[in-house]
């Protein structure tokens, strides 16, 4: 086979990057032509300048660190609790029957509705922000883990039993590896919801973080500052999606190539 050309090898990157550049160009042009009032809008160049300003002279590094820490703490706790609890609920029928109605009610409630209450209970410092992230990402991880355990291949369980496997052995060799794809799907959803949680949490009370930056920028008509926050969140989202993709690939070497 002929060696692929430069374009063929980087087709995704070239087309995707081209798309982004086009949007940026139109955006910048619209801004310069003043099609919208500058009071409510900012151009890409403006935003980049403001980003640099906030980065070097403002509080942006501290904001990113604050939000990042809360996100990591909340998501880690949610992953740990979601997987452990999910395995128990999926594996033991009685535990499932006890918790099913409670969890269904909580799962159906938008967790954002709980934010004012969480602030009342935990306060407005980093703990309440991390807790909001936890609440946001715990349920998708839990629900997917339960689904993973419950959809284990009965043939595999039967084979394990026939070879005299103990419950613990079945758990280690069948249940956990079999539900890894589900757990990772849960984490992927948890990451997305946790990101919403971290931003929304900071919009209610507190005076730090990227979410606060967006809220503050919007309220004080510093449109460029708000945009800086939004773009940082967008980039964080892309980065995290990329990382979970890598994680998923790492754990699915055994899957048939598609």
């Amino acid at each position: 086979m002929k060696r692929e050309s430069f374009y063929q090898r980087h087709e995704g990157l070239i087309l995707g990057g081209g798309g982004v550049l086009c949007v940026l160009a139109v955006w910048q042009y619209a801004w310069q032509q003043q099609w919208v009032t500058p009071l409510f809008f900012a151009g890409p160049a403006e935003i980049a300048k403001q980003f640099w300003h906030l980065m070097t002279e403002g509080s942006l590094p501290a904001d990113i660190l604050f939000s990042g820490q809360n996100f990591v703490v909340g998501l880690s706790a949610a992953t740990l609790a979601g997987v452990v609890f999910g395995v128990l609920i999926g594996w033991y029928r009685k535990i499932r029957l006890i918790f099913d109605p409670l969890l269904n009610a909580l799962y159906a409630t938008p967790r954002i509705a709980m934010v004012p209450l969480i602030i009342l209970w935990v306060g407005t410092d980093w703990k309440s922000k991390a807790f909001i992230v936890f609440m946001s990402s715990f349920f998708p991880i839990l629900v997917n883990t339960v689904a993973g355990i419950r959809s284990l291949d009965p043939d595999l369980l039967r084979a394990a039993r026939a070879f005299c496997a103990s419950d613990w052995q079945i758990f280690k060799t069948v249940a956990i590896p079999g539900s890894v794809p589900f757990i990772l799907t849960g984490i992927r959803q948890g990451v997305a919801l946790g990101l919403i949680g971290v931003v929304v949490g900071e919009m209610f009370g507190g005076s730090q973080g990227v979410g606060f930056l967006v809220a503050y920028g919007g309220q004080t008509f510093q449109v460029d500052t708000a945009f800086v926050g939004v773009i940082i969140i967008a980039i964080a989202g892309m980065l995290l999606t990329f990382l979970t993709d890598r994680l998923e690939r790492r754990f699915s070497r055994w899957r048939p190539e598609r």
Binding site: D153, R158, F163, A165, W254
Partner: protein, 281 residues
Amino acid sequence: MNGSIKLHIDRVSKRYWFEREAREIPALVDISLSVAEGEFVAVVGPSGCGKTSLMNIVAGLLSYDDGTVSIDGKKVTGPGVDRAVVFQHSSLLPWRTIAGNIRYGMEMQRRFDAATMRERTDHFVKLVGLSGFETHYPSELSGGMQQRVNLARALASDPVVLLMDEPFAALDAQTREFMQAELLKIWTQAKKTVLFITHQINEAVYLADRVIVMSARPGRVKGTFDIPFGRPRGLELKRDPRFLKLEDAIWKLIEEEAGNLGMMEPVMNVEVVAPEKFVGE
């Protein structure tokens, strides 16, 4: 068959509770059969004759209501290291390599130390002809190769009785024929006592020393046929007139029962009439 009895099934019955009709329905009635050391016994019967229930009972995965199942004189009360099952669906762990899957049975049974397990894994990888595939994953193998792994996994755990539950039913016709011949070769080397369950008369006659015919609904032993052919057996045996005659006799027994029932469901008819021998004969 003058060796000692390894597997003994003595007047075993199994009933299922049918909620809809609020009564028990017999699935197996008074099943008795025994398999001597080194013997290859096949159980053949139409679908619905309780073959799979019988297999699960012997494997210790299903309880039974009357009678006894014993291995080497010891009553079966659950799964045990004295039996290993080759399943219809290969039921290999998709996240384990071929070598890892062959180890799996031994690992669960905790009967061998690590060095012995490694040795036995190597040995059975070779025996089933999968050298070079040790580090592959099941999804990279064809159906026939997966069933070789399934067989190797069961053999590696060194059972007293090897149970085979329609292991080739899901394979295409050509692969199935080839795997039957391959199984006989492996069996000759591994010298195992085998209980083989199938719905294909042709497969049962080709493989077994003795064929036990079961009737459907409820499952009973309908007849036993000693298979007189010597070993090794080549696939050409299947075209031998004596082979065809035996096959026909077994078929008549099953057919007779279908006639007795008078009204076999069309689905069942198709499945029973289908053995390849009638095609093009």
